[in-house]
Symmetry: C2
Subunit: 305 residues, 2 copies
């Protein structure tokens, strides 16, 4: 971790309370610049999250907005705007609690084991809160920047994996030999040892766009031979507001099974808020579905060994 | 053609001038009902187009909005709204001219030859005008119905092909044997003779969604064996308004070549307004690109023989 441990929140002083959206966006631009230049700026991500939580808590109301099965959802609300639904059990709305969780993560992160440590549930809550705090700020105060939350999530995934795979080379594209074409993925980690490179499509939700990581894996299999690249798809959730009636989870288990069996094989799908439907046996018999916490505690080690 | 030839416009009486959007949407719903029930209601499509042209001409202004290469684009405009760009050379804004073109098409349509006749340019103008008149009405007066123009285009393609392939069975899905899954395409025509079925993905513009028809073709090849299904992708254009600066054509020739070579093989792509870039040799060496007029004059016959 590049940020000094401890006192992340205190070090920002009072400016974070009620920070305007421009300040958050400026910090995001700076963060993206450092990420694009090759670093894994986890400390900066944590600082932005604290700014977002402070703004959300001081300027909007966190209210219940519906249930899906046993999961309860909240939404930050203004008189005329509502944020996307937030899974209550995974969200650390209190900046002080978030900061403690952040520091605990810093302590248990272990690149030699390529693991974020054994407390996979704490890891998942921390990462979920990180993505959602930023996304909710954009929902309430900068709705036109629809793509920014996706980029922020990509930077989070790329930076966490970058810290855990320090000797793997990160890029965005895979060139096709003897051709001007290339496969533009979100994140690729080049394996420094023998073994497959890791391709990481990153999408807040998938819907019909789930086809793309499968098509890319298929092309990579065709061009480079099976086993040269492995894809792990990283998502936040498939939950959305359903008018005034609450929340709904849009799942496409049939499509996933069809693609996994007849188009290409993804190595795994990871969600911060896994849809209940995708944790049922018929889907998990087809491909591994993990919470991102479990993936970063246990699975990454195996997959990159 | 199911509508009686001649006097399509006159038969509608004065109600079409300034018809409100609700009247057009009601006619569209009725049309969709008939199409979904299996008919190919070309006459109803022509009538809706005349209602749309009358409304556009009487309630908005048709103004130049930019050029792309040698192509000049127009846009129907209200004080606060602008329609999508319309290719001037392909658009029959005068309802009387449109009606004559419609009657001429009726006369030269020849299901025994599976052809709309030799005047492929007139066919293309007629079909282009049909899609754009409806789409521009939605742009100006019902912007929330974003998906309706795509459905209208799908009904147009399905109905024209339905008239030309009267003994082929039209459906929307292809079931996967020994499985609950199915491939949901836009239109499938089942071949009554020996030879491949025809799969027709229909998209007003493609952008990143071009991957879907390729993925479907690949799955069909994997499940049923190569040559059981052939896909022809039908599009309107890749042109869009570019802020206040005019128009721009969003092309992805590298992606198309990559997919065509390494993912699956489409039999052809047809555009009502083919992007100049896709008519260059490097793309056409990879896969056939046609205007929809040429496809319906000449190519369909060969392909379904």
């Amino acid at each position: 971790m590049e940020a000094e441990p401890g006192n992340l929140y205190a070090s920002l002083g009072k400016e974070v309370s009620g920070a305007d959206m421009q300040l958050i966006q400026d910090a995001f631009k700076q963060l993206k610049g450092r990420y694009d230049a090759g670093s894994s700026p986890l400390g900066g991500i944590g600082q932005i999250t604290l700014m977002c939580l402070a703004k959300l808590n001081s300027e909007s109301q966190l209210l219940e907005c519906g249930n899906a099965g046993h999961k309860q959802y909240l939404s930050y609300q203004l008189p005329t705007e509502a944020s996307r639904p937030i899974l209550s059990s995974e969200f650390l709305s209190d900046p002080a609690v978030y900061e403690r969780a952040w520091n605990a993560l810093t302590e248990r992160m272990d690149p030699t084991q390529r693991s974020l440590g054994s407390d996979s549930e704490a890891t998942n809550r921390l990462l979920y809160t990180t993505v959602m705090a930023f996304a909710c700020c954009v929902d309430l105060w900068q709705r036109r920047s629809r793509k920014t939350p996706g980029t922020f999530f990509e930077i989070l995934v790329g930076s966490v994996l970058g810290q855990l795979l320090p000797d793997w080379r990160r890029s965005k594209h895979i060139g096709i030999p003897d051709s001007a074409e290339r496969v533009s993925t979100d994140i690729v980690f080049g394996n420094p040892h023998r073994g497959p490179d890791l391709v990481c499509p990153v999408k807040i939700t998938t819907r019909e766009r789930i086809v793309q990581p499968y098509a890319h894996q298929r092309i990579l299999d065709a061009v480079f031979g099976w086993g040269t690249y492995r894809s792990v798809l990283f998502c936040v959730s498939e939950m959305q507001l359903d008018g005034k009636k609450g929340v709904k989870e849009i799942c496409v288990p049939g499509t996933i099974k069809l693609f996994q069996q007849h188009l290409a094989s993804l190595a795994a799908i990871c969600y911060l808020d896994p849809p209940a439907r995708y944790l049922e046996n018929d889907v998990r018999d087809t491909l591994p579905v993990h919470s991102m916490g479990s993936f970063l505690s246990e699975v990454l080690w195996d997959m990159t060994d």
